[in-house]
Symmetry: C2
Subunit: 407 residues, 2 copies
């Protein structure tokens, strides 16, 4: 029998069943367990265990010893502790928006959590051109609750400093520092650029020193501005959806950084869904409806975020100077500026950098994919360069519509 208490090893499906039976008090003794490794991320093994007899299921997520994205990234499996603790905290800050966590095992580096099999990964669902009318409302609540309530506006400053210390995340931050802020903006050998886009990337991105300068500023803000506890990787592959519910998963990149980072990641990934719909759906009313749904979702997320942010500020700000005239508007403006910048960074890095998104890579027709990618890069650049000018949801959609006309 496998021993789980002495040293870490990566489990097989069979060992995950044994682990659940001997180490977790979740399934009945007479459970008939079946297990499948369903991880499609880059960093972890995800075991789904099902007890067919009692119709009960569970996820065991185990950190791999090396990031699966590439052998070049060596990651400490301690990131699973971070994930467990942050899910626990997010459950308190934004109840119902993250999976329930049952246990964390520091030796095996794994977390047992709620199975969300009746949900779909949002990226997959959007690529099937499904719509989630409640998503803007859900995600804006999640964003306001996790971002504002972990800032110095609301949190006691000593407690906030403990939060910064606890969620210091050097290895996963380094991945973002390299893959989001650095490599996409020069001709880095590790980039993976689609042939139909290379010339455009070279001219518009790599050969623009003004753009590079702005990315350096943003990189330093990302590294040094401990504003709020972030999810840190809030793309549509980190979001589970069903008609009436949204669950945010995979917070292993969590750390205290600029609040706009999470908001910008959501917006950029909806833009990927937009170009996917535009270039993979047949021209017609259904496509038009899907594109409008995505535009409205982007617009609503920003406008609902603003509204809920200001309302939560009024209700919950504890910092005395946060009540000074004009301060909350100044603060929110800065979050929107960072949101625009990160929307732009994410748009560029998913097109040029190492970690692409299926929304775009699945566009089969060569010139369509090139057009989709150029829209993302052109919009990305404008989001970065003009980031001070984004104040409303409409401002965010306008750039997308403008760039769409160019290709």
């Amino acid at each position: 029998m496998t021993v789980f208490t002495s040293a870490y090893f990566t489990m097989t499906e069979q060992e995950a069943i044994e682990y659940a039976k001997t180490r977790l008090n979740y399934f009945a003794p007479d459970a008939e367990l079946d297990c499948r490794e369903i991880g499609d991320g880059n960093l972890n093994y995800v075991f789904k265990l099902t007890d067919h007899k009692h119709n009960k299921s569970l996820i065991i997520k185990q950190a791999g010893p090396v990031a699966r994205i590439s052998d070049e990234f060596k990651l400490s499996p301690d990131r699973n502790r971070i994930e467990y603790e942050i899910l626990d905290l997010q459950n308190k800050l934004a109840p119902g928006f993250v999976p329930k966590v049952f246990s964390y095992d520091p030796i095996m580096n794994c977390t047992a959590m709620e199975d969300l099999s009746d949900y779909t990964i949002m990226r997959t669902a959007l690529m099937r051109h499904e719509k989630f009318p409640l998503f803007a409302d859900h995600i804006s609540t999640f964003l306001v609750n996790t971002l504002l309530l972990t800032s110095d506006v609301v949190m006691g400053h000593k407690e906030k400093k403990e939060l910064v210390q606890k969620f210091t995340n050097p290895e996963l931050c380094e991945i973002s520092e390299d893959l989001v802020f650095t490599e996409p903006f020069y001709d880095c050998p590790r980039n993976e650029v689609f042939e139909g886009t290379r010339e455009f990337a070279k001219r518009e991105i790599w050969e623009d020193p003004k753009l590079q300068l702005e990315t350096a500023k943003l990189k330093f803000e990302f590294m040094t501005h401990a504003q709020s506890l972030l999810h840190g990787d809030l793309h549509t592959g980190s979001i589970f959806v069903k008609e009436d519910s949204t669950k945010i998963i995979d917070p292993e990149f969590a750390f205290c950084g600029p609040a706009g980072y999470d908001v910008g990641n959501v917006i950029a990934n909806l833009i990927f869904a937009y170009v996917n719909a535009k270039y993979t759906m047949a021209d017609g009313e259904e496509r038009q409806v899907q594109l409008e749904y995505l535009e409205n979702t982007i617009e609503d997320i920003i406008d609902l975020f603003k509204k809920k942010f200001l309302r939560a500020w009024e209700e919950k700000a504890t910092e005395q100077t946060a009540r000074y005239d004009g301060f909350k508007e100044y603060y929110l403006d800065a979050v929107l500026r960072d949101t625009a910048a990160v929307t732009g960074l994410e748009l560029c890095r998913r097109i040029i950098g190492l970690a692409s998104v299926k929304d775009v890579t699945s566009i089969e027709e060569y010139s369509s994919r090139a057009a989709a990618e150029k829209i993302c890069l052109a919009a990305g650049k404008m989001f970065i360069m003009d980031r001070e000018s984004f104040k409303t949801g409409e401002d965010f959609v306008r750039i997308l519509k403008d760039c769409e006309k160019r290709f």
Copy 2:
């Protein structure tokens, strides 16, 4: 015999002698030790031990259980660990500019360090209207070495994050957050305002919502911008000088914050020395020479800081994006902006807030003290409000000269 290994207690002079004899391997066995408690700060007991037989001396600095500034501040004596570790680090970054440290005792919360009795506290020396022609050169080297070399420009980003974690300093940061950024800017009961200044403070500071808004922005930057490892309390009472040498002491407020914070504190405290000379020296050439010395020192510190900063950047920057065209100028501009802002904050808080400076309080003549304080407040406000416009040493001196003419 007193036992020093079981639990913390605050030592008497006699117990400090016993401590040195039994716990430190510094004095000879036949030493004839004499001890005086010479602390004039607010937070610690400072024992000076002298062996008259062998002409050797040592400082033992012990953290008190409660800040001596006021019983309202409860401080963990762990700040002495922070002080030991930072002196050790600063010795490596800026050799010769901090006292040597010999030992740290985590039970007694005390540090044994080099005795600097042949030095004078700079505030005292400047109040005697002495001059230190090498000071601008020394302090600018100290500032560049400690601030730039602990930033993400030079330091590896993972190592930097460890530094942020290690020097998290919630209790002493809270003192600064309250006493520097908050209380001076409204009619806080804890403020100690000179009668001749109260009306001016009320009108120009407390009743100016635009100024308050800026202080809120600066407070949030102080709390969240982990740019460089700061000294954190770099006023002229934390600097020992003699003709050919400068030693920076008391780094117990150290944490990672905005680099301009340390530079601004130095500049503001030279302005206090300036108004002291102006209003306590007899009108005549000697006064003129002293005022010019202080003006030149302020100007030189800024200009030498800029020059050495850019040179060290060229030599030592490791971050790839830090080499992008225009980035170091952008970064240095931001440090100068923060320097101006903190100069202004320090000028206001020492006049209005709880912790005053002797340079000003020792001005005996009522209307002179009021004039000196109004110069500081008027300049302070301009440094905060116009902080974007300070680019050279001359810019810093000009404000002082302009405000001087008004009172």
